[in-house]
């Protein structure tokens, strides 16, 4: 157990040094944004990318993605890019392009019964019976504040101050 923790810490340190690689993952611009030479707002602007422009994602750094585009290479805000095109759905069907992607709420909430797949729909939740054994088990895994602090220290996580973000729509008329 202790060994594992130490090994984990070592591994962690090694991995921390590595940039997160997205080896060729595709993406497209959600909105117009500037392509920057470096991952900073004040960095030199390389080009302007328009909504819909395709990019290849090379790596991530905080809120920035390093991308290659037809207009050149550089960094864009992560939140300006829609990563990937599609991935397999849980039922194994290939998702057909962006048109089939989540753009709103799903219709009925009905789940097609599939053997071996345990879903969690409204009917199941409504019919659920109190399970005291599982609740006790869940509560047995409680981590104390001091344990959490130790865990954070191992990951070199340092607590810092930051104010809550105001609601950006709060000033708008309702």
């Amino acid at each position: 157990m202790r060994m594992t923790t130490h090994l984990g810490a070592l591994l962690l340190t090694a991995l921390l040094a590595m940039p997160v690689a997205y080896a060729g993952e595709g993406g497209s611009m959600i909105k117009t944004d500037e392509l920057k030479a470096e991952p900073f707002r004040d960095a030199k602007t390389v080009a302007k990318l328009a909504g819909g422009d395709k990019v290849d994602i090379l790596k991530k750094d905080g809120g920035w993605l390093q991308v290659k585009s037809a207009q050149g290479s550089g960094w864009v805000h992560m939140l300006s890019v829609r990563r990937g095109a599609a991935r397999k759905s849980s039922s194994g069907n290939e998702v057909a392009g962006l048109a089939g992607l989540a753009s709103g709420r799903a219709g009925t909430g009905k789940v097609v019964a599939t053997t071996g797949i345990r879903g969690l729909n409204e009917e199941e939740l409504k019919a659920a019976k109190f399970n005291e054994t599982e609740l006790k088990l869940a509560e047995s895994y409680l981590t104390s504040r001091s344990e959490a602090q130790t865990f954070a220290n191992k990951g070199k996580l340092k607590a810092r101050n930051m104010d809550y973000l105001p609601d950006p729509s709060a000033g708008e008329s309702k």
Partner: protein, 277 residues
Amino acid sequence: MNRSITQWLAATALSVCLVSAHSFDFQQELKNAASSLKEPGKLSSLGGYSEAEETEIGKQIAGNLLGAAPLVKDKLLQKYVNNVGRWVASQSERPDLAWHFGVIDSTDINAFAAPGGYVFVTKGLYRLLNDESELAGVLGHEIGHVIRKHHLKILQQSKLLDKGSKLLAKQTGGSDKVQNLIGSGAEIVSRSLDKSAEFEADRIAIVLATRAGYDAFGLPQVLQEIGHTASNDSSVALLFKTHPAPEERLTRLGDAMDDHFDGVKGQTLMGRLYRIK
């Protein structure tokens, strides 16, 4: 998940008095709560329930949810999630709540919070995660619902009249009285909260993760990942029904975060994310 709970809770004064081991002036409490709702700053008086009552309500909901989907039987996983969750929750204004986190055995992609500090993530959602900062972001969103008492508020707002039939619900274990308050089973977790409550929980998640030393963009990354799931995929049916679309949440988050996080670096801890076998 949240909406249900709150509505039933609201059912009321009557039920609440039953739940309460010690009597208190519920009418006055309701009035206090109602006025608190108009003053977002007055968090401490929000809710109208004592912490003991809040925990009792949360316990009942959590026990029911676990009746629908039990814990993944992996002790290391559960302990890991509690470690991350408690560290993130420690950055909130309710660090000393008895926070409980768990991964439940469902292929659905979803996460749930119940009053009193009970937070559950499905195995389906957990499997989408790429690093610890993403887990911190997901748990931070649920922690946000708990600390702002979103579900309790809904319960308080609901009308006593809607409740009558629910008082006849059969006892299924746990506390009868609390069960009466929350409706059938864990249906309360399949209700939707206000969109504004979801956006608020998203903003709180970003801040708590950042305070905890993580990369601020864990939650946005998970939302992008979820956005790639076809909207007609059953694994996201309940999530999409009860939450604004991932794209909308990302846009709102982008507006709220603006450039505040440009120079803020944090850990992603990809290597420490516990992988489910």
